[in-house]
Symmetry: C2
Subunit: 497 residues, 2 copies
């Protein structure tokens, strides 16, 4: 374990703070490959817990997992014109297949063997629509084969110029769903179903409140009819796109000739969707909840939910508190909780508190000789609040406390978001708001790309979503807050990651 | 679902049979990328069940999952001389990062942008020792950081010339463990522990009996001190290496300067291990158990363990058997089983039997009106045997039957392997055995690479392992079965995948 270091306060440098939180909690590390990160065990465990929860939701709604190749023939990417345009500038291209000796030794001992050039270069998948539709074309014959509801968990590569741990990395892990349907309505239902799953996952597991809605044309996925998204607001009042669900229409079906025989005997192109969330969600979790002491992790995704810290001076006390600690550990495990008994001799209790706080453990029980005598433990919540709890029934007590903490994190995050949102904004106020503070600005929008470009140019803000009814203002705006022409939809703008 | 097709019998063409089984069970499919396969939902579910079981075993023994980059700088691979030599001829090399328009449309619309060449080419990981040791060098400072026990589940690329579904593909999925230890004994203990986990997993989950032992120098991992392996024998009497566990000594620690401060204050290189199993195991499972009717899947890894097939003629009968079917389904699910009630109207019962047999479902319950009247279902096991079972307590009955099937598959496979093994072999008999039948041949071995090369040259057989004591012949051979010099160890030869 690395030496404990001070975490830069948020108020001083938010970006440094973010990196410090990750390093102190040992969630990830920089790697020797530009833009690629190493996900360390503490971070990967959060991802595993996320995967399990999402995967269960996908399976409950009839989706199955599969696995498609990492490589895509270059010509495939080109088949959907918008799609290739969207990804052409950030692809990793495999062109050769052998190394040969240079005659030198050590690091310079090998070079690319020019004689091993591939006939057709391969693209490392930046997303898998094209390679998957090639299989769909083989598998889908008749309406009986529909809907086809697939998902894969895999790695993705986009050669980003500016990267940040979890939020934007050259390689990242994600799930990508790909489904084919007999008609537009069924594809639309699917895209919406997934959006609702993403929302529920964000709210109930990440404790991150999100807006749902549709993207404007300039922000939609390259090749989609339209893109739905969940959008969250971070503590620095910048937005984070947390997940997207695309209705692809028949665009990819046409490009890859995915047709099916209808019940009536005709031939139709399928309608399709794709959707994904990634390890970026870990960045969103960190930036939503954490504080100047380090990571704050919602209990349902915490690798360690409860840490037990025994306190002693003498050997006799040590034996006693460790014995009680082991009993409590067993009881918490029996209650289905992820628990660690920190019995290390090498650290004082205060240093242990500090370390586990930085790692985001939601609940700590301190067990000293006086606690044992009183039949209690001292309970300390990561967000503050210390009080004794009886050892009797401590499993149920801990479970209840974790549920409260989970709920409190969500409520606090939603309140922060609302405090950082303004509605019915005017152009003047918008410019000021985006310059001074940032946040979610709700206002009328004429729907034109020119307004979007001008707004982005002047303020850096983009339309995050045209929000779903539930999130819209009570009164629909009449005019575009920027150009004054009639509003076609309320929009939510923000500067974004 | 594809039209049911006839499976080539094993006796006619084993290799065709293998592909037919996979296609009929919809386990995998060829992809548009040379040597890469698509793992379809039925195949991927087996992999998920394997992952869950192995991952639990790794975690129980103190290992944690992490994730390291897909890309490795070319110079890293070169740092360990044997290692780069082992992989130089089969690596996918990323050399460029942008596509540019050619001015044409459609598939030929783009080309590699020569202006986007990387300064240093990246190797798509063929295994991750080198990139992981770069991180180990940062993380490991003192003896307190040891042992470091990591594992990752990921994809791997080796540009193989001749590929076969699951057994040898350009890209495959696997887990790779990487551990660092304070001394040789601890690393050796780890390499052995993992070998025992692999063996237990093969026997208890795959129902595949394996030999354990050590590889000869010519068959060990590029860069290892020595390699342990589990080896199985397929129905065609060819061996399949199912998993390897490498003691790497200090080779990679020296190449990447992974040193730690000892308790006494000195500086030492760590000792390390690496180990892996892959989607190849699915190929081993198929080839060990399946028959001319298609896949036979051991119950513990079967995506569907029990299929319920209702039988009816009239609408009244249909309502009745479906109602009972739903009740049985609920009871089997409550017993923790993976069950499907096949209520399709479009297929006759016989066609359903045929289809589920090809998919390897271990247990089928047929439920007709007469069965319902008698309070029973007709039970049919995938391997043969049909008998009525009472509906009362059918959950427990099914669980017991599945356990019996699992055990019977293992016993049958072990008997087949033993029947295809010869001990105390002589040179003459060896040549004949390898020409006529193949199988596991046990005999004395002088330990020389020359004998190994000559044997491989003449018979295609290689030393699979120098077996652990449990598998050795009662009397140790005195002389090398090939050259007649003193034997240094008993060896097991076979032709192998």
């Amino acid at each position: 374990m690395a030496q404990a270091q001070k975490i830069t306060p948020r108020a001083k440098d938010y970006s440094e703070w973010y990196n410090d939180v990750i390093m102190q909690a040992e969630l990830a590390d920089y790697s020797s490959v530009r833009g690629c990160m190493v996900i360390r065990p503490n971070g990967y465990r959060i991802w595993e817990l996320m995967q399990r929860a999402l995967d269960d939701m996908f399976k409950e709604t009839g989706h199955q997992n599969a696995y498609f190749p990492l490589f895509i023939p270059m010509s495939f990417l080109a088949k959907e014109a918008e799609h290739v345009e969207g990804f052409a500038k950030e692809v990793a291209l495999v062109t050769h297949t052998r190394l040969k000796a240079t005659g030198k030794t050590g690091a310079g001992a090998v070079m690319v063997d020019p004689a091993s050039a591939l006939e057709e270069p391969l693209v490392v998948r930046p997303t898998s629509e094209t390679i998957i539709y090639a299989s769909f074309a083989k598998w889908i014959q008749s309406y009986r084969d529909l809907p086809l509801l697939l998902n894969q968990w895999c790695n993705i590569v986009r050669m980003e110029l500016r990267t940040r741990l979890f939020l934007r990395t050259t390689e990242f892990l994600w799930q990508e769903g790909h489904t084919a349907h007999a008609d537009e309505a069924d594809a639309e239902r699917e895209a919406r179903l997934i959006l609702s799953i993403y929302r529920r996952f964000a709210e109930e597991w990440l404790a991150v409140p999100v807006l749902t809605g549709v993207k404007t044309d300039s922000e939609k996925f390259a090749g989609a009819l339209h893109t739905y998204a969940i959008e969250a607001l971070m503590q620095d009042r910048k937005a984070l796109q947390c997940g997207t669900s695309h209705h692809l229409g028949q665009n990819f079906a046409r490009a890859f000739n995915v047709q099916y025989q209808t019940a009536a005997g005709g031939l139709e192109y399928v309608w399709s969707t794709s959707w994904g969330v990634s390890t970026r969600l870990i960045g969103g979790l960190i930036m939503t909840h954490s504080d100047d002491n380090g990571l704050v992790c919602p209990p349902r995704l915490a690798p360690v939910q409860v840490v037990l810290v025994p306190i002693w001076k003498t050997d006799a006390e040590r034996a006693q508190v460790l014995e009680v600690g082991a009993r409590v550990e067993a009881e918490l495990k029996a209650a289905g909780l992820r628990v660690v008994l920190d019995a290390r001799d090498s650290l004082k209790p205060g240093a242990k508190y500090f370390e586990w706080e930085a790692r985001g453990v939601p609940l700590r029980f301190e067990i000293g000789p006086r606690d044992v005598a009183a039949g209690q433990a001292m309970s300390a919540r990561r967000g503050g609040g210390k009080s004794p709890v009886p050892l009797a029934g401590i499993g149920a007590t801990a479970s209840r406390a974790l549920e409260e903490i989970q709920a409190a994190l969500f409520t606090a995050a939603r309140e922060r978001r609302e405090a950082a949102s303004v509605r019915g904004i005017t152009k003047e106020r918008f410019i000021e708001f985006m310059q001074d503070q940032g946040g979610f600005a709700y206002g009328g929008f004429c729907g034109s790309g020119e307004c979007e470009a001008a707004i982005k140019d002047m303020t850096g803000a983009t339309v995050r979503v045209l929000p779903d009814p539930e999130f819209r203002s009570p009164e629909a705006p009449r005019t575009c807050m920027w150009c004054g022409k009639p509003s076609v939809a309320e929009a939510v703008w923000a500067q974004a990651y």
